[in-house]
Subunit: 168 residues, 4 copies
């Protein structure tokens, strides 16, 4: 196994990515993550470990949840970590992680449309986030819209539903 193939840990926290449509109530809800299905579709052959930490809407994510995510990033042996979560508070989570976790490459990604809906950006984002986590130097990043952003140089543009770079 070459250097670039050191194992990657994926921490699942929920978000639009993994939402499903409840046909009895007409509401969106969480069941299991679709990460494995997505990785199979992408014919992904990376050495990956997938762990589900929580299954929540990022608007419901508390400081305690963020502490749990950061603590998991610190505790594990992997130096490369991908986190899936809702886009609404993705940057807040990135900042909390950056305060306590050093010397690891951590990339957060999500989706604007659930994977199970036809028009999802999820598979594209997953592909790019897995590539960024392999190649970027240690730090905490957000990967969306085909781009990567340092956790302290990004904001979500809620009108457009996309992420913008901003001067530090």
């Amino acid at each position: 196994m070459s250097v670039k193939e050191e194992p990657i840990l994926i921490l699942v926290t929920g978000g639009t990515f993994d939402k499903e449509y409840n046909e009895l109530t007409g509401e969106l809800f969480f069941r299991d993550t679709h990460l494995k299905e997505m990785l199979a579709l992408g014919r992904c052959r990376l050495p990956l470990d997938i762990r589900t930490l929580m299954m929540i809407d990022s608007l419901d994510m508390t400081n305690a949840d963020r502490a749990t995510i950061a603590e998991n990033c610190s505790r594990v042996g992997e130096k490369k970590i991908l986190i899936t979560q809702g886009t609404d508070t993705m940057i807040e989570t990135a900042k909390v992680i950056a305060e306590s976790v050093k010397n690891k490459t951590i990339v957060l990604t999500g989706a604007m449309v659930p994977y199970t809906f036809g028009s999802s950006d999820g598979l594209f984002n997953l592909g790019s986030a897995l590539a960024f986590v392999q190649t970027l130097s240690p730090g905490v990043y957000v990967a969306m819209n085909g781009r990567y952003f340092r956790h302290d140089q990004v904001r979500k543009n809620r009108e457009k539903g996309e992420f913008d770079e901003m001067a530090q």
Copy 2:
């Protein structure tokens, strides 16, 4: 625009990626590339220029075709180039480009299943290839299966339909 946001050129050459099903004959054929549609689905916001060089099956790609691709890579101003082509001869094309093009990051990608079919790996591969082309140092690479490979350290495993790393 930050350094990482220097413009990326996408050169389209065809391949399974862009094949479609002809419902009158039951055969696969090429019409236009689906790159724009795929980038829209991925909500991609990178500064990109897309140019179609040819629309062919990679088994039909000749040495003259490869020379054309390499020449285009040399001539253009962009330092970051993504090439879509069929997986069968992707490595040969990478080698030809590597002989003449230096100081640019060039990534080749493709798909095992056409984008227009439900089960395509195309969107995942496109996401990862666009991330690799932004972050890898100059050289010629193949991006498939969530991984990247140097052009001289990869072989296609035809039995499994995936790419393997091999010692130089």
Copy 3:
């Protein structure tokens, strides 16, 4: 044109069928109907006229709305009418129409999952409803789950999300 090919009128009223996902708010909403897109996908060659009467959730449908639908059914020249609406109050609408419209074959259908989501039953239901409206004798029917039901012999089983026949 043979007898069976007399023109069919499709009256669109909204319902889950035509809901879309708003990626900025995470909510479902209505824009335009997807009927034309669905008929194109089905390679439908029937002589059809499509008219959008309203674009609402069937839980929001009022008695005045139902009167409008029934009035449209009466007024038009077509003897065969397909109505798309939400499943929650489909039977109520069928009953209102049956009170005032005679000598026409009217079929109501809908979907449990929006057409734009991958897992929709909409295309199947549309195919069966169009077949039923061509072949059933005058009356008002609900077409769901591959079945047809007389308006006065059906109930929606909300726990299962399907329609059951019941004795009159």
Copy 4:
């Protein structure tokens, strides 16, 4: 169970409907039928029995194959039978069945695009064919393009990929 709910037999013979893409060879092939998956997607609740007779391209269907299909139609107890097969020789099969099977409603359907590809008409055709087999009087019919045709009043328009009615 009401009269309309007498059990329906589905005889699977292959055809474009059930073709899949072999990502190693780039060719289309048959594995198992997708009928059950399609019926689940349509939330179909009809009493059905599905039997696979063969899994072939309709261009490869022989007179012996057609005799087998007709014989199965005769032998079984069901009075309502749906047959899935390729569109190229669907009408020939219908004629062979009509010669020997009387007093049953038999509907043949298929698809222009495989179900596993995103743009398939298969689900629409299946919905309409199941509705026609419930409602048409005894005889042998082809159901395509939202329409039904008597076996002796239909021809396939190969240029357009659709079925036309013709005078007997």
